[in-house]
Amino acid sequence: MALCSYCLEVEKVLDIDIQRLLKALDQQKGRELSDQEQRYLCLSLLGNEPMDIARLDYYDMCSYGVRKDNPDLTTAELEIAVQEELKKKASQNIRPLLSKTINSYVKNLMGVTEMPSWSNVMYFLKQNGYTMIDLAGKSKKEIKIILGAKPSDKAIVELLQILKLNNPNISVVFEIKGDEQND
């Protein structure tokens, strides 16, 4: 299976052995993941919510449709209408598709019935050998950032991207204590 550009980003920023993970998820599915499933998996690992994915995949289409149906809207009104359309796409298309496919395979792989939080998935991947072993040969430090609220998954990925620019040896987030759990 060819790796997409998002796969390479997952490897680079999160240190995840994406080839191994894809193989494990192929087994859960019973056949190879489709290109779309592979892409959605990577986008999810990179901290994207269904709305972010909808924005990537449907923005142009929604913008065109809204403009065509409402030619008199101002730019600001148009943008609000597009965002509403994207919310619909996220809840009616992306979320059900993720639930039926990627999330289901990930849950089976982890042996759980409820979809864990992003950080718990990351922790599982790290603990079960799905991350590339960092063999920089230097003693590493555990760096603990105490926060007053839970950051978004995307914000954590953004921080890692910034840190990785200067420090390729920094490892992935492996734990968020006080994390939110899905009930």
Partner: protein
């Protein structure tokens, strides 16, 4: 539905000294808070408990086994030794691990030489090698067991 278990959140990363310094700089300039989009109360650092890090730390220590190992493999970088030991530990049970470690210590591949070592335990050098391999196997079990 979600629920918050505790009041504060801890985001834990692993990195080298440079990474820590960069995070501290981002924290002090306020950029860390900007990037994460939530209040950052403090940044602390401790030695990592990661198994690979633990082994690296052991290999760099003054432990007699680590010292002997470094002397034997003086031309190999620590990272390479860690990788070899990790592979040997993952692929061998407790009985075979010392023999796999002998190969690493002797700088050979796990082939005929290993078998020779098992059958011909004569020779003080070979005995020393096997003794070190057994000590090392015990240390690996302590660190990774």
């Amino acid at each position: 539905m979600t629920k918050q278990i505790t009041e504060n959140f801890e985001l834990i990363l692993e990195g080298n000294q440079n990474a820590l310094e960069q995070i501290m700089a981002l924290f002090e300039s306020g950029e860390l808070e900007e990037i994460l989009g939530v209040p950052v109360l403090s940044v602390e650092s401790t030695e990592s408990n990661d198994p690979i890090t633990a082994l690296t730390r052991f290999l760099e220590s003054d432990d007699p086994v680590a010292v002997q190992l470094r002397e034997r493999l003086e031309n190999s970088p620590i990272s390479e030794i860690v990788a070899q030991l990790n592979t040997a530990y993952q692929n061998n049970d407790a009985t075979n691990l010392p023999y796999a470690l002998v190969d690493i210590l002797a700088g050979s591949t796990p082939t005929a030489q290993n078998k020779n070592m098992r059958s011909a335990s004569e020779g003080s050098e070979n005995i020393k090698l096997l003794r070190l391999a057994r000590d090392l196997a015990k240390k690996l079990a302590e660190i990774w067991g």
